[in-house]
Amino acid sequence: MSGMNPYLPFSSKILKVIRHTEKEYTFRMEFTGEVKPGQFFEVSIPKYGEAPISVSGIGNNFVDLTIRRVGRVTNEVFEHYEGDFLLLRGPYGNGFDTDLYGKGETVVIAGGTGVSPVRGVIQALSEMPNASDKHVIVGFRSPDDMLFRDDLKTWDEKLQLTLTVDGAPEGYEGNVGLVTKYIEGLPLKDPASAKAIVVGPPPMMKFTIIELKKKGFTDSNITVSYERKMCCGLGKCGHCRINDHYICLDGPVFNYEEAKDFVD
């Protein structure tokens, strides 16, 4: 009977804890099943509840879950360290098909923790032989809020990375400004056939898409991923529904041609 219970979590060992910022850590969890970037797990800590966390990295025997200490459940996760166990269910959702972005000009635009679900896609792009037409714009609130610092260095070498922060203390030498600022200047040969992926907080996604359309991107070449309150991941609890779509089942990754009509 228990095999048929989709709510029964399994126990997963914490292989490694990677600290990004004071509030954000990546938990490398033992996992050997099928999983794609952009999918999510329900991470449960008895006593506190469950939270949907997207997959930020995939390896032979692990998945990375990058968790921000912002809620009741995620606070408790930070009390668990290497060798301990967490309870997981998943993966859920459709995730990204990384193959789709191999050919032609591609731009990935991500803000804050929105980098987690697209990290696997950016990694795949960065491993392609000629990544001169693969652009990545990543924005964080401040230099202290930067995630995946080691990756950012690699990406900067292998593909066209623009790293920016919304604001910075005096003396900061990097880019300062919202991600939207860097779209107009993207050196694209043919924006109308270029592909874009946009993931981040709702206002960032809204204004990024406006800029992309101004640049000449078509709706059907834009892919978005949504963060909603997914209590079950199974299409039952109702919290993540938008119009006739369940983000946990039909998403969280959508083609913008479809998603442009979504109203919460």
Partner: protein, 339 residues
């Protein structure tokens, strides 16, 4: 077969059924209504036929056994996670035609939305057989005829209509026929009563354009609605829930996971980590709920979610009428199509 029994005969039938079934039926709670000396009709497990309220429409719907307001699903001990047990005794639920139609909607979400069946719902559902309460007349706020849920097929084990003190029962199920026949009632053809007209009528547009979402008609509910969520909790087709973990105070490592009813009208329904919230005003929440019931569910599954029982109107402390809103949406759509 059909039977006509006096109340003693019916009491015998129920008495016999109680050996093999737990029976959930509308029960009148004296003085439990929202005003002084007003009763409330809720669903409860009965032990005697006299407890069953067959006349009044229940304030709460028949979903209560299948989707309890709070249900423990898992137990956590220090080393393992264990599924909660469930009483395996079969269950009879008394419901009206609208309630039986609503069951199809609940099944749709819990058993057929997405690849996974909800095991906790399924194990309850597998225990349930339905008893139809006939409707001799339409009740306040009912609009089942407009929603095409006033009549139901023969998906019940027997029906009951209380007419002039006698129970009229249509008994299509053989197992139950034996029990009715043993109770000594008169055998005669019985057709459960169904209403064919309601005072309240609604008209739902075939297609609701997205522009209705930003229509000003919702603004009224931002001020009138107090987002108490009662409409969701009495609705026979609302199925949303939230996970909740509870740990015992004497041993903090041992506890249980429950799922509790959730309301899309109540604060925190859309909250995400870090303080994001997707529908802040009560008008937006009303729009989300109404369009689910009369449009979004249909887009996904091909038939309307709302069954027209009118319980949301009956319970609303602000006298907001769901059927009125549907007709306002219809008017607004017509207006937009014209212009």
């Amino acid at each position: 077969m059909g039977y006509v029994l006096d109340t003693d005969g019916f009491a015998k039938v129920i008495g016999n059924l109680l050996d093999d079934y737990r029976i959930f039926a509308p029960v009148r709670k004296k003085g439990a209504g929202r005003f002084t000396d007003v009763d409330c009709v809720i669903y409860d497990e009965i032990k005697d036929a006299s407890e069953i309220e067959l006349e009044a429409k229940s304030d709460y719907s028949s979903k209560e056994f299948l989707t309890p307001l709070s249900e423990t699903i898992l137990y956590f001990t220090e080393e393992e996670v264990k599924e909660a047990d469930l009483d395996q005794k079969p269950v009879l639920i008394f419901g009206r035609s609208c309630d039986l139609h609503a069951l199809k909607r609940i099944d749709q979400i819990y058993l057929a939305n997405g690849p996974a069946e909800d095991s906790f719902y399924k194990r309850r559902r597998g225990l349930v057989k339905c008893v139809l309460i006939g409707c001799g007349h339409s009740y306040d706020n009912c609009f089942c005829v407009s929603m095409d849920s006033n009549k139901c097929g023969d998906d019940y084990v027997f029906s009951v209509d209380l007419i002039d003190g006698k129970i009229h029962a249509d008994v299509p199920d053989e197992e139950f026929d034996r029990i009715f026949s043993a109770a000594g009632g008169a055998v005669q053809d019985v057709t459960p009563r169904f209403v064919t007209e309601n005072d309240v009528k609604v008209e739902i547009p075939d297609a609701i354009p997205n522009s209705i979402i930003t229509n000003e008609l919702w603004n009224e509910y931002t001020t009138r609605c107090i987002n108490c969520g009662r409409c969701n909790f009495v609705c026979p087709t609302c199925t949303c829930y939230t996970m909740q973990d509870v740990f015992y105070s004497d041993n903090g490592k041992v506890g249980e996971r429950r799922r509790v009813g959730a309301s899309c009208m109540v604060d925190r329904y859309t909250d995400v980590a870090g303080g994001g919230q997707y529908r802040k005003t009560n008008g937006e929440r009303m729009r989300f709920k109404v369009l689910h019931k009369i449009s979004d569910f249909k887009k996904r599954f091909g038939y309307q979610m709302c069954v027209g029982c009118g319980r949301c109107d009956d319970i609303c402390p602000e006298y907001i009428s769901f059927s009125n809103i549907i007709n306002k949406v219809n008017d607004a759509v017509k207006k937009e199509v014209k212009s």
